[in-house]
């Protein structure tokens, strides 16, 4: 059993949880994820390691309530436990001190997984410019944390309630327009956002790394459910990724596969609501 040591609702429907898992915390690196199961009948769901504390032996998860499993997880409280927690999974981000200027883009909940990567890049001595995107000001998360480890932070909201009005790509364009020399972009967020970022950086020849979130089961390379098309190769995101060269990723296929279980997901959500598991 893995105990929930801390829980906080960061903004409506977005939760921060610290889970006690000392062995995972000792090995965790930026860019990796874990797979958890809430209870004995639960589904295995992947969540990014948003932070880790070796001393306390905890892993920080930031998750958005979307369907049955995240709803159930959000209904648990400090002191409760979940049955399974496995990781760290996936390849760590490739980070060194000679990356130059990196633009780290997080869209929505994607800010959480981008944070440890941006922090590691910053600690390695690179210039980090962060772009944070959200629909509206109230649901923006991690602003203070991102400011603490970035040389500059640009915020973009769809409705213009905070920062630049528009998408993360609008903010990126501003950087380009002002003549910022960008060596790499790392973008994490919804598929459509990562696709737009890649479409913007491709003509400029800026190396762009994305972190993919296909449906996963085991997270160890055993099921192939997480397969993604990268260039002319089929890759398993859980073991070969989750980070890939964004210019090679077939995003349309990724997004289409993300809808494969839509009907069942709706059913599962109803079920959880009906039996009162989702509080």
């Amino acid at each position: 059993m893995f105990k929930i040591m801390y829980k906080k609702e960061l903004s409506p429907g977005i939760f921060h949880m610290d889970i006690e898992a000392p062995r995972v915390a000792k090995k965790a690196k930026a860019g990796q994820f874990i797979v958890l199961r809430v209870d004995e009948k639960g589904e295995r769901i992947p969540l990014t390691i948003a932070d880790f504390d070796v001393e306390k032996g905890t892993i920080t998860l930031i998750f958005q309530v979307l369907g049955a499993s995240t709803m159930q997880l959000s209904a648990l409280n400090e002191g409760d436990s979940i049955v399974d927690f496995a990781g760290p999974l996936g390849q760590p981000s490739e980070i060194d001190g000679n990356m130059g200027t990196v633009v780290c883009i997080g869209g929505g909940i994607g800010v959480a997984p981008v944070y440890p990567i941006a922090r590691a890049m910053h600690e390695a001595g690179n210039k980090v410019i962060s772009i944070m995107g959200a629909k509206t000001k109230d649901i923006l998360i991690f602003e203070d944390k991102m400011r603490a480890i970035s040389d500059e932070v640009i915020i973009a909201t769809d409705d213009g309630s905070y920062g630049v009005k528009g998408f993360v790509t609008t903010a990126l364009q501003q950087l380009v327009d002002r003549g910022e020399k960008i060596d790499q972009v790392t973008a994490i967020g919804p598929g459509i956002m990562m696709k737009s970022v890649c479409d913007a950086t491709r003509p400029l020849g800026i190396k762009t790394i994305v972190s993919l979130n296909p449906v996963m089961v085991d997270g160890t390379g055993m099921c192939g459910g997480c397969r993604v098309q990268v260039g002319d190769e089929m890759k398993f995101a859980c073991v070969d990724g989750p980070e890939f060269d964004g210019h090679l990723v077939d995003f349309n296929n990724l997004m289409s596969r993300g809808r494969m279980f839509r009907e069942q997901e709706a059913k599962a959500k109803d079920h959880v609501c009906n039996i009162g598991l989702g509080r």
Binding site: S69, T220, G221, G224, F261, A268
Partner: protein
């Protein structure tokens, strides 16, 4: 006594009924049938069955004990050579092993060795005998086992009985390997058989740590240098699914057999939404492949509510690698065998879902390296099979996570760990390996046998080090 030419029939669930439930198909012999079947055995002086058994069970001896109704002695004889008889009695390809050479096959059917093995194994499990915990010496040496499939479980059991403190590290949240995630409930019941074997190991004193992915949570070197283990056995299986590399494999509705079976067996998607993991499938399913895995995926599809299920296999019936019984059961349940057909493309609809499977007809040509006649495409014979779900069951390769993080432990060009056939010793001192990770996808009995050999070798190795 007159010679009975046929095996005593196995009581089975009716095909029409069982095609819609997940309960075990074969119900098992009762005592009288078992004794009557045992009496068919001639107790040959020079038994041909025994050399056919990969682990050399003394077959005539255990059958002799069944004739005497001394079932306890019968199972003891089996357990001298096999650790998982309730499993192997159910899933071994007996027709290619012990039963193949039984003298009775000259006149009729062989003795039903597998069914008799299952009978005595179940007899013992049903007695629920108390398992005595082993008392380990305070200075007992420690062995780590990576992977809780048949090879790892067997190696662990044998080493614990020899007094070693054993910890099994398993990546998934349940032990058992393919026995838990791959082979379906209707062929190998989980709570009744697999879980009980695992529980018994734990009662004996073997520690099982699930959610522990070697190569990520710790490396083999760390197990030995920092975590205090004196030897390591790697039994990580063949868990990396192959695809055909034909167009359309990324469409919605396409699964690897591993994903499909894992969702259903391990995650219990057949009980969705009570169990939270879904399976999205249509009513018309094509399963590509001809082995046990393909039969399991096909029969599982039927039980999940498919109306029409095809097996698409590029060779002919004679080459089907599945156990004869599985093919027979699949046909009885109404699976449609499209033999001598090879998929060339999966065609999708406007929503990105499978619409059909384009195949080409094959004919058998000259024998290939495997001795089987090579299938060759008949030019211009393409046709479309109207299906909405496609399951790829064309084989699995080795998962590279452990090998790639263990310097000094060599693999061959296919990525399988190189290990001595008799001892399981790898090229790295103190590290042994066995089962599918060494041989490539094979059988439960071979994996179990490899675990046994490695346990004996690890014992030798650790004695010499003490």
């Amino acid at each position: 006594m007159a010679l009975v030419l046929e095996k005593h029939k196995m009581p089975e669930q009716d095909p029409q009924v069982r095609a819609h439930n997940f309960q075990e198909v074969a119900l098992g012999y009762d005592e009288e049938t078992a004794v009557a079947e045992a009496n068919r055995c001639l107790g040959c002086k020079n038994p041909q069955c025994r050399p056919g058994c990969p682990v050399g069970i003394d077959i005539p001896a255990f059958i002799g004990k069944i004739k005497e109704r001394d079932f306890d002695s019968a199972i003891s004889i089996i357990k001298e050579s096999s650790s998982l008889p309730a499993v192997c009695g159910r899933v071994c390809p007996q027709e290619n092993q012990c039963e193949k050479n039984c003298v009775l096959t000259h006149k009729g059917e062989s003795v039903a060795i597998g069914r008799l093995e299952r009978f005595v194994a179940d007899y013992q499990l049903d007695k629920n005998e108390e398992v005595k915990p082993i008392e380990f010496a305070p200075d007992a040496q420690k062995v780590a086992i990576i992977g809780a499939g048949p090879s790892g479980l067997t190696c662990a059991g044998d080493l614990a009985r020899k007094g070693y403190k054993v910890t099994i590290f398993e990546a998934l949240h349940v032990a058992g390997g393919v026995l838990s995630y791959g082979i379906p409930e209707f062929r190998l019941p989980k709570d009744k058989i697999v879980k009980r074997e695992i529980d018994n190991l734990q009662k004996m004193g073997v520690t099982i740590e699930v959610n522990s992915i070697a190569g990520r949570l710790f490396t083999v070197d760390e197990l030995m240098a920092e975590m205090g283990f004196d030897a390591v056995f790697v039994g990580t299986g063949a868990g990396l699914p192959h695809f055909m590399n034909i167009p359309g494999e990324s469409l919605n509705g396409v699964y690897s057999s591993n994903e499909f079976l894992t969702r259903c067996n391990l995650m219990k998607a057949y009980d969705f939404p009570n169990h939270a993991t879904p399976i999205a499938m249509g009513k018309k399913v094509a399963v590509v492949g001809g082995g046990n895995v393909a039969m399991d995926a096909a029969r599982t599809s039927l039980r999940l509510g498919a109306d029409k299920v095809y097996i698409v296999y590029r060779r002919s019936e004679a080459e089907l690698p599945a156990r004869a019984e599985e093919v027979h059961h699949a046909k009885e349940e109404g699976i449609d065998f499209k033999l001598l057909n090879n998929p060339v493309e999966i065609i999708g609809d406007e929503n990105g879902w499978v619409k059909s499977l384009k195949c080409i007809r094959m004919e058998l040509g000259e024998p290939d390296a495997s001795g089987r006649r090579r299938p060759v495409a008949v030019e211009g014979s393409e046709f479309e099979l109207d299906v909405d779900t496609v399951i790829m069951a064309i084989g699995n390769g080795p998962n590279p996570i452990v090998a790639s993080t263990t310097p000094g432990m060599d693999t061959n060009k296919r990525g399988n760990i190189i290990a001595d056939e008799e001892t399981g010793a790898t090229t790295k001192e103190g590290v042994f390996a066995g089962g599918d990770i060494v041989t490539g996808a094979a059988t439960v009995i071979l994996a179990m046998g490899a675990g046994k050999k490695a346990a004996a070798a690890i014992d030798e190795y650790l004695k010499s080090k003490k």
